[in-house]
């Protein structure tokens, strides 16, 4: 009767778009409270450095003024944090408390579509947060146009990496309290040791390979290269890491989370 060859349902890109659209609409509903912090946070951070800590750090780091070094690092960390929160606490609440996914999965989208849409949304938030920080950095003359316009793209990639990773973590989590292990045990150390505050090369030699395994390290390197328009051949390795990480972790996140959405 209806089993004809013409497809009834929307094509893949429309299905992914519809998931993304849902998140954008919910986020945009409280635009003021949602969109102000990404601008305020770097302001506060830079004020603390510029007015206080910065006076004590006079040495240049990897050839940059400290405020420039730290400011460019923030472009990556802000994308990391927003994506990590969105796809851990945010996803868990949608999954377990609000049952949002139950409703969405009754519409013509598959569990995989939903998960990939979620990851693209995390990337979008990474893009927007990195953009906000870039605006602040440009306003204070810390980075310069037009190079820093590439920073939101690295923010997007960072958002995708941490969105996928957080979904993978969420697939294991039984109660929302378990996320403290992820944030205290993984995200925070990465924030401090991935070359945001000081160069990786100043860490003890045995720790350096561990830091190279961390996704944020590569985001930070990429975003600094983009902002200073200084591309070294080693960056190819960072880029490769980011691409492989996005694909592999998204694959496992989808594989594991799928069984929780469809049982």
């Amino acid at each position: 009767m209806t089993g004809s060859n013409t497809k009834l349902y929307p094509p893949l890109h429309k299905r992914l778009y519809s998931v993304w659209y849902r998140h954008v609409r919910v986020y945009a509903k409280y635009l003021l409270s949602n969109a102000l912090p990404p601008f305020l946070e770097p302001l506060i951070f830079l004020a603390a450095i510029g007015l206080g800590l910065g006076k004590y750090i006079t040495k240049s780091m990897e050839g940059m003024r400290y405020i420039e070094y730290l400011g460019t690092g923030l472009l990556a960390t802000t994308a990391m944090f927003t994506a990590a929160y969105e796809c851990s606490f945010g996803t868990f609440i949608r999954l377990e408390r609000q049952k949002v996914y139950n409703g969405m999965l009754a519409a013509p989208i598959t569990a995989n579509n939903l998960i990939i849409g979620e990851i693209i949304w995390a990337g979008t938030k990474g893009f927007f947060y990195a953009f906000s920080v870039a605006v602040v950095l440009v306003a204070f003359g810390i980075v310069h146009l037009p190079y820093c316009l590439g920073a939101p793209l690295v923010g997007f990639a960072t958002g995708v990496m941490f969105g996928a990773l957080s979904l993978l973590v969420t697939s294991f989590v039984k109660t929302i309290n378990h996320f403290s292990f992820y944030f205290t045990g993984f995200i925070s150390p990465m924030f401090f040791f991935s070359g945001v505050f000081f160069p990786v090369s100043s860490l003890p030699r045995f720790l350096q390979p561990v830091v190279e395994l961390m996704p944020l390290t590569h985001s930070v390197r990429l975003v600094r290269a983009v902002c200073t328009n200084n591309y070294r051949p080693q960056l190819a390795a960072d880029l490769l890491y980011v691409v492989v990480f996005m694909v592999v972790v998204s694959f496992f996140a989808a594989k594991r989370l799928r069984t929780r959405l469809v049982n």
Binding site: M1, T2, G3, L8, Y9, P10, K14, R15, Y17, S18, Y21, R22, R25, V26, K29, Y30, Q98, K99, V100, N102, G103, M104, L105, A106, A107, P108, I109, T110, V262, N263
Partner: protein
């Protein structure tokens, strides 16, 4: 011959060691209302979820499911596109208002915005929510939320509407309103599948009923047939202590007794017999009535709670 929208044969579903659904088979004809009736944990929701691939049937059984000719294992998107689902719990987006909740769902079906706006207007009228267009979700009453969930499920003009306990927890007015609306949809050709605990609801709106218990089909048929084939026409309800006083009466020879807790029920097809029995009793301590689907249901599924309830 009428068209079969859903055909399910020998389908099972196991969660760990729990057999949620066992060898279930049924068919649903186009533009009819089919009801699943059963206690909590009977497997009604699981069965419905298997139809739209929210739940996967057991791999190792030979069971088959066909919805509009599609197997949900391979063609979930086709089935979902043609169906609307009203879930048991409210999963509206609290952050958004009434219209926005519907708009978001129109995107899932890739509806053009002109059509969406018209459709939303007519749905809000249909479910009597037109003056709540811009309201926040938390300002809505339970009955309004449920009506909005129904509107959301109807956004793409589904040919099959699946409802999981659509009127649980609602007041009698809203319940009747929902029955009316479901009746209208059916008249317009929509096939309706629902679960319910309410016998009256099942009796009023379902053309066919399937009573489930512990994952198995217990009985199936039209509400009227289930009633006439499985229980006597009348029942006299009385306290057990009163029953003990009269139990040796010869009048009771032609009645069937069911006891549960402190209540005894005497069933008979002959109203006069039960009237004669009631004459032996004090006025006001008994209740003589027509038997209903609830009597069939309780007879079929047992009067005591089971471990899944």
């Amino acid at each position: 011959m009428s068209t079969k929208v859903i055909t399910v044969r020998d389908v099972s579903k196991t969660f760990g060691r729990v057999h949620a659904v066992c060898d279930l088979s049924f068919e649903v004809e186009e533009a009819t209302c089919f009801g699943f009736l059963g206690p909590n944990g009977a497997g009604k929701t699981t069965m419905m979820k298997m139809l739209y691939a929210k739940c996967r049937r057991d791999e190792n059984c030979d069971g088959t499911i066909s919805v509009f000719g599609f197997d949900p294992r391979a063609h979930q998107l086709e089935i979902k596109y043609l169906s609307g689902v009203v879930p048991q719990d409210n999963n509206l987006d609290e952050e958004l208002n009434v219209v926005q909740n519907l708009t978001i769902y129109s995107k899932f079906y890739d509806m053009p915005s002109v059509r969406t706006n018209k459709r939303i207007d007519s749905l809000l009228d249909f479910l009597e929510l037109a003056d709540k267009r811009e309201s926040k979700i938390r300002e809505l009453s339970g009955g309004m939320k449920r009506r909005l969930l129904i509107a959301r499920a109807l956004i793409n003009n589904p040919r099959l509407l699946i409802l999981d306990e659509p009127t649980t927890g609602l007041d009698p007015q809203v319940r009747r309103l929902i029955w009316d609306k479901l009746g209208q949809l059916k008249k317009d050709g929509t096939t309706i599948l629902l679960t319910t605990h309410y016998m009256e609801e099942a009796f009023q709106i379902c053309d066919k009923l399937l009573i489930m218990h512990k994952g198995r089909k217990i009985m199936q048929g039209t509400p009227r047939n289930l009633l006439s084939e499985n229980t006597e026409a009348y029942v006299l309800e009385l306290p057990r202590i009163e029953y003990i006083k009269i139990r040796d009466s010869y009048l009771l020879n032609h009645t069937r007794l069911e006891e549960s807790g402190e209540t005894a029920r005497l069933f008979s097809d002959d109203m006069d017999t039960l009237k004669a029995v009631s004459d032996l009793l004090k006025v006001g301590c008994f209740h003589l009535r027509q038997s209903n689907l609830e009597d069939v249901f309780l007879k079929a599924t047992g009067r005591r709670l089971n471990d899944r309830q």
